[in-house]
Assembly symmetry: C2
Homo-oligomer: 339 residues x 2
């Protein structure tokens, strides 16, 4: 049965053979022209390009992947696809990846650590590298993935005991800045709306809060989480210790807390101060504008890709220093009410 040389894009994909036929050359020549890797005589190259364009030829990624062993795709796992915090990272990372000819396969773990492991394994079937953003999985799980894949990069997770390349910010120092800011304003007893227990960033921030006691700033620890809803729900318990300020794990948590404080008729910062963390784009538009910590999301994203890229080149990237984050003082913090 003769191969039907159909016009651009009608039923069934156009293959390299059809282009070769149309241009009167071998498929090898077409392949060479498309991948511009070996030299082909100008006239042949031109004929091939014409034919390819006329037929609307697009090489099959699957076939290329099979033949070369490289998929030019990187898998990205985030705890929650609806959290704006991750988008700036993803956007920056994607831009760098695209520049290097890679695409991003995104997976949503829905705040479930075990889901992260499953997704990672599943993703490995079709990607060349994996980027785990703020992974909550155990160190053991991390090590397993490390063994199953030649290229895994961690974002926001600098746990000891894992040799994976990592990019994160200086969480502890930044949260200490927050505490210091509050202490200087005169606060002594605060409440901390803590993040997810398995999150490394949450652990670091919590450490900082606990350390602040050494400077006379005492915090009641209230488990919250990473979402607006979690912040909202934790406020009532947090108020139990009669704090003069609420320090939140993240901006999202702070937004939730803010909503509940308003409901309760409490003024911020008049009655109580409030801080966030991350400085997402909306932090400054809150009412009142959120005092928070600015994290270099773009830089995290592009650095993460750099790590991936060097791993893909079979290099062993040098450990990256923790990125600095800085306190942004806006309107949600003030001196505690003196009565």
């Amino acid at each position: 049965m003769p191969r039907a040389s159909s016009p651009a894009g009608r039923k069934g994909r156009v293959t390299i053979h059809q282009v070769a036929d149309a241009a009167g050359v071998s498929i090898a020549t077409v392949s060479r022209v498309m991948s511009r890797t070996e030299s082909v005589s100008p006239e042949l190259a031109e004929r091939v390009r014409q034919a390819a364009a006329a037929l609307g030829y697009q090489p099959s990624a699957a076939a290329q992947g099979l033949a070369t062993g490289v998929n030019r795709t990187v898998g990205v796992i985030v705890p929650n696809l609806a959290n704006p915090y991750f988008y700036d990272i993803i956007k920056a990372m994607n831009a760098s990846a695209v520049a290097d000819g890679y695409r991003m396969l995104i997976a949503d773990a829905n705040e479930d650590p075990s889901e992260e492991v499953t997704l990672g394994r599943e993703l490995l079937r079709q990607v060349d590298a994996l980027v785990l953003v703020s992974p909550r999985m155990s160190v053991e799980a991390l090590r397993e993935l490390e063994h199953e894949s030649p290229a895994v990069v961690l974002v926001n997770r600098a746990s000891i005991g894992v040799g994976l390349p990592t990019i994160s910010i200086e969480n502890l120092g930044a949260m200490l800045e927050v505490a210091g800011h509050l202490a200087k304003l005169g606060h002594r007893g605060i409440a901390y709306l803590a993040g997810p227990a398995q999150s490394w960033q949450a652990q670091e921030r919590l450490r900082a809060i606990n350390q602040a006691a050494a400077f006379g700033l005492h915090a009641a620890i209230v488990p919250a989480g990473a979402t607006i809803a979690a912040g909202y729900a934790a406020v009532d318990a947090a108020l139990g210790s009669d704090p003069t300020a609420l320090v939140c794990f993240s901006d999202l948590v702070a937004f939730g807390a803010l909503a509940r404080l308003h409901e309760l008729g409490l003024q911020v910062p008049g009655d109580i101060s409030l801080t966030g963390f991350d400085d997402i784009a909306f932090a400054r538009y809150a009412k009142p504008a959120l005092t928070t910590v600015a994290t270099p999301l773009q830089e995290i994203g592009s650095k993460a890709w750099q790590l991936v890229a060097s791993l893909l080149r079979h290099e062993r990237p040098a450990p990256l220093p923790l990125l600095p984050a800085r306190l942004i003082i806006r309107e949600s913090t003030g001196a505690p009410r003196t009565e």
Copy 2:
């Protein structure tokens, strides 16, 4: 050279052959067990599963794709990956896709219509379907893509002249509600911070604004865009017509406008009213809380996937009705100042 039967995950992927060898069966049997499509005797199936687990075998997606012609991956193109409006849509769509065994390849067009076309073509090399979210590309480009791919779905774009399955909300009606709300409050002369000219949603919303003149509500049209920065930048021009209210294309634009209004010392809604559109999660936390239009983002996402799924089943999905969106009155709108 004998095939090295290496333990789980060391150098080079585990193939179906290694599993077959380990289980003492043919690769056909392994394939059948993995895809649980044909019957295999219980004992053999068990042996194969054991071997696969022991070796950590994961079928290569590329090989499967090549052999079956199905990649189980869908490409999603959004105008801007850092726009929170798209998160909930993406998240919902992803959840549905994952439930059906599909993954999502995400591409960011960076607000560039021509980029959308390029990305679409590129994506088609490795996906089974394409979802264009709020595409700005021309009708011609849309038609080309339609011909090049068997499965393309449109979100937020119901242009006539294109036969692609579409899911969108009732933009015109909703924006008319906004205008009606303002008119009832007593507003007569307002300014509209318009969205991207190529966006169908922007066109519909603009139509509504123009229609409102029939009810005595006159608007000065000011080109803005779809981002916070665009809203911020458009305020000064918008104020030129001395409006009593600023109607914005989207919440993001409203956030930007709000920031500028604050800078100028104008009170909202005391000095001027402000409205958004979309009701992103942060709209209620703005200062003041934004009067806006709630759009069923989750539903858009899951419906979009349903369209894709039926296309993948070679069905011709029935046209979906425009989803209703409803006005949410919060604190940013009030009666115009009477002087």
